[in-house]
């Protein structure tokens, strides 16, 4: 994790963010901002549980939607600033307890439900974790978009520092990597604090199958 140099950045952050849309690099002819926004407006419709506001980008989403620009050297400072901002927004557990129940964590990691227009409002959100990560060895159906988390706690230990780093990553993955593919589970309200504690236990509890 990069150490935030807070004061210096706040000012530039404000400047760059005043007009995120204009920061877009050129897409080809016919795909300027106005044409693109008109297309978005005409092409999507709201469904219960999936409102049109989902198309309104926050600064991270806008920045990462132009990979050529966001991965350029010129954008490095912006990426770092976004990471600091996202890190500053991480809410650590109020009671100082980072670990919940790894068994519940496993169930949350397995579930890909929640926040789509086919999920009911009472549907508990899942973490989608196995979609992208290997986690416990017993589950052979795992994705590879993210790194394997097998032995996560065994490799790193279960120290307070590891707990804080892991929490920050799950709560807001963009706090350490502006254009990480991983959703911001806490920041975007996908998982509750209690659910994140359970995921934490799955990764760090020595009794969890992840660390066996």
């Amino acid at each position: 994790m990069k150490k935030p140099i807070l004061a210096a950045v706040a000012a530039t952050a404000f400047l760059a963010f005043a007009a995120p849309a204009t920061a877009q690099t050129a897409w080809g002819p016919g795909a300027d901002d106005a044409a693109f926004q008109a297309m978005l407006r005409a092409s999507f419709r709201e469904r219960p549980g999936a409102p049109l506001t989902r198309l309104e980008q926050d600064p991270v989403q806008a920045f990462c939607s132009d990979p050529a620009a966001s991965q350029s050297r010129a954008a490095a400072a912006t990426a770092e600033r976004l990471e600091r901002e996202n890190f500053a927004a991480v809410k650590f557990p109020a009671d100082g307890q980072f670990l919940g129940d790894w068994r519940r964590g496993e169930a949350i990691a397995q579930s890909g439900r929640g926040l789509t227009w086919t999920d009911g409002a009472n549907q508990a959100n899942g973490g989608n974790c196995y979609n992208c990560h290997q986690i416990s060895e017993a589950e052979i159906s795992f994705g590879t978009i993210g790194p394997s988390l097998l032995g996560y706690g065994k490799l790193r230990g279960n120290t307070p520092e590891v707990q804080r780093t892991t929490w920050a990553k799950i709560w807001n993955s963009k706090s350490s990597n502006a254009c990480s593919n991983m959703p911001r589970a806490g920041h975007m309200g996908i998982l509750t604090e209690a659910q994140i504690k359970d995921i934490m236990a799955l990764l760090l509890d020595p009794q969890s199958p992840v660390n066996k």
Partner: protein
């Protein structure tokens, strides 16, 4: 060329010919029997076998289940059953962990090779049990197929 009919019993159409073959001993005696409801409602392997009149199945290396070890989706699991046991007249296919074990029964008349393939549903990872009747004896083979979770889980 394509014909549709809504006759309830196939014997109306082809009964004469089938009866003749049955009389000649070319068909298993129960090939003409109605759908075996008791067998298809069996909730465990012994009951299902009993309803099919299949006693004392013996494991056989000449009966084979050809399938992938893993099914990407339990809704469609391709299964082929091949018997190299001479005079195989009947093949049954069961899934141990389905709510009803029995998936299919094939009668193998004279001329048909004891080699059939179909696709079945599996609720979860389970043993597949194939049974073949040949010369009055009952042979069996078992194989596990894993059913994986797929998609985004949503």
């Amino acid at each position: 060329m394509k014909t549709v009919d809504n006759t309830r019993r196939r014997v109306v159409q082809t009964g004469g010919a089938l009866a003749a073959f049955a009389a000649a001993g070319l068909l298993p005696t129960d090939a003409l029997a109605a759908w075996n409801q008791a067998a298809f409602e069996g909730k465990n392997i012994p009951d299902t076998l009993k309803a099919l009149n299949l006693d004392n199945p013996t494991p056989s290396g000449d009966l084979q289940i050809v399938a992938s070890d893993i099914a990407e989706n339990g809704a469609v699991v391709p299964i082929q059953i091949v018997s190299r046991i001479p005079n195989t007249t009947r093949i049954a296919l069961m899934v141990e962990k389905n709510p009803n074990m029995l998936a299919a029964v094939f009668d193998v008349p004279e001329g048909m090779l004891p080699d059939v393939a179909t696709r079945i549903r599996m609720q979860q990872t389970s043993n597949i049990v194939a049974v073949a009747v040949a010369g009055g004896k009952v042979h069996t083979v078992t194989r596990e197929i894993k059913v994986t979770l797929g998609g985004c889980g949503g």
